[in-house]
């Protein structure tokens, strides 16, 4: 589905944030990228969508661009378009008529739990509802590859839980291939087949690839009590700490979330 070869990414003439990255994502797999902030994981995702040009190496997509959807970190929608028209936009770009696109948009809004919200302006929606619109915007394109950049980072815990499990249901039902960037280690393990750990930037490299030995589909709550989950979490936590520690040594103990043991 997606092959990344010897990819390096830099902003302008600065030192590359990310160097010599190789990744292969097979169809139907769910891969998470984790790493300390500033390691270029979001930039890597942007390179896959074509928003960021590689300074060397290549990104090979084995799927048409129109079948790739990108769920961004924030929930910025076009403020001057209704929820319906925000969802319809991608469909119209695929050449559908305004009317057909709006009809499909309404169906997807209903599918993400926003039945009857089509006429609302984005500022009339809550953060969670805007996120749902953004999800509908992505899913309406019937993507085969879904890219997500810390999609639920800005939401409170309860909304986050429900949105994550809803989205996971879609991923399972449509057998979507997913590449997700997150800084939440547990979220990464709970959702993915493989977790890829990036090191510190600049010139970040892949520090490790961890297969998640848990069957799918998973129950997001129960999976966290599985001994294989906690074992992997500890292993990943140690690996991540090695990357974070050099940065944090100057300011004492890293104030990061402790994995339940």
């Amino acid at each position: 589905m997606l092959t990344i070869e010897q990819l390096s990414l830099a902003f302008g003439r600065n030192e590359p944030v990310l160097e010599d990255v190789d990744l292969t994502l097979e169809p139907g797999r769910f891969m998470s990228l984790i790493g300390p902030s500033g390691c270029g994981k979001s930039t890597l995702l942007r390179a896959v969508t074509g928003l960021q040009r590689p300074s060397s190496g290549r990104v090979h997509l084995n799927v048409e661009r129109k079948h790739v959807a990108f769920l961004f970190q924030d929930d910025a929608l076009l403020p001057w378009r209704s929820a319906r028209d925000n969802v319809a936009l991608g469909l119209r770009n695929q050449g559908r008529s305004k009317r057909a696109a709006r009809a499909i948009a309404d169906e997807w809004l209903a599918a993400v739990g926003l039945d009857g919200f089509g006429d609302r302006w984005p500022r009339q929606l809550s953060g969670g509802q805007r996120k749902r619109v953004a999800i509908a915007q992505c899913l309406a394109l019937q993507p085969r590859l879904l890219l997500m950049d810390e999609p639920f980072a800005s939401l409170d815990a309860i909304v986050r839980h429900y949105l994550t499990s809803d989205l996971l249901n879609w991923v399972e039902r449509e057998r979507l291939t997913v590449l997700m960037v997150t800084h939440d280690l547990e979220e990464a393990i709970a959702l993915s087949d493989q977790v890829v750990l990036l090191g510190n930037g600049p010139r970040a490299h892949i520090k490790g690839r961890f297969d998640v030995p848990l069957e799918r589909p998973r129950d997001l709550v129960q999976v966290r009590t599985d001994p294989r989950f906690t074992a992997l979490a500890q292993q990943l936590w140690r690996a991540l700490s090695e990357e974070v520690a050099p940065l944090a040594s100057g300011i004492g103990r890293p104030a990061l979330k402790v994995v339940n043991e």
Partner: protein, 253 residues
């Protein structure tokens, strides 16, 4: 609505009535010289007379014509210049300092020049209105496009939108928002341009009447004209506000 009528609006109305009533009494009883400060009834009488005979209409037509033509041309040219400058950095390099300078000076000082170039008819007033509005609109659009929310541009691109879709979905609505946000100021500027232009040299218009009133030391007429121009601008402000609320309804909903 009833709460508004009994609240702040009621208190304002009472204050206004007391103010005007006091003024009227003081002026009529000789406490203040009506030569300098004529009573409100005299000012209102002049306005009524003008509308009854229709004598004011050609003057209103001249001023409104100049202001509205200047406003329309200024907005159109401002949008076009702002758009091109934002998309063509080389043009912006040349245009920005000129506009910044025009923005810094009180642009009404150009009035005598426009009179020399274009004569005392409508065109010199339109030109002054135009120059006041175009600079304002240029900066609104130019900065508006440069400050377009880049996240929205990326959203539209990842949703498969090309340059035309970007212009339709992101740039044009952004520009509309910026121009509408400045529309009330632009209306005020357009009127200023027309009236000042007429004041400097003309044979018609509210500014011309004002200049005539001043040269004949007619305080009644002067204050009546100031009052009229105030009312007209308020009406245009209200219309501009309604248009803004309609076009930017996504913001006010």
């Amino acid at each position: 609505m009833t709460r508004l009528l009994t609240g702040v609006y009621l208190r304002r109305t009472i204050a206004l009535v007391i103010f005007l009533g006091g003024w009227e009494l003081l002026s009529r009883n000789g406490y203040i010289d009506p030569f300098y400060l004529p009573p409100p009834s005299a000012i209102w009488g002049w306005v009524q007379g003008q509308f009854a005979t229709g004598a004011i209409f050609p003057h209103m037509q001249a001023t409104f014509g100049a202001a509205l033509i200047g406003l329309a041309l200024g907005i159109i040219a401002g949008i076009m210049l702002g758009f091109t400058a934002a998309l063509m950095p080389y043009l912006a390099e040349l245009l920005e300092p000129v506009m910044a300078m025009l923005n810094a000076i009180p642009r009404v000082i150009l009035a005598p020049l426009f009179i020399i170039w274009l004569g005392i008819d409508l065109s010199s007033k339109v030109a002054l209105s135009f120059i006041l509005v175009v600079v304002l609109t240029f900066f609104a659009v130019y900065n508006g496009i440069k400050d377009v929310d880049y996240r929205l541009v990326e959203r539209v691109r990842t949703l498969g939108g090309g340059p035309l879709v970007l212009i339709r979905e992101v740039y044009v609505p952004s520009v509309v928002a910026w121009v509408m946000g400045n529309l009330k100021v632009a209306v005020g500027f357009a009127f200023t341009g027309a009236v000042v232009g007429e004041f400097v040299a003309s044979a018609r218009g509210l500014g011309y009447l004002l200049s005539y009133a001043q040269s004949t030391y007619n305080a009644t007429m002067t204050m009546a004209l100031i009052f009229l121009i105030m009312v007209f601008v308020m009406i245009l402000f209200t219309l501009a506000g309604l248009l803004e609320r309609h076009l930017l309804r996504w913001k006010y909903a």
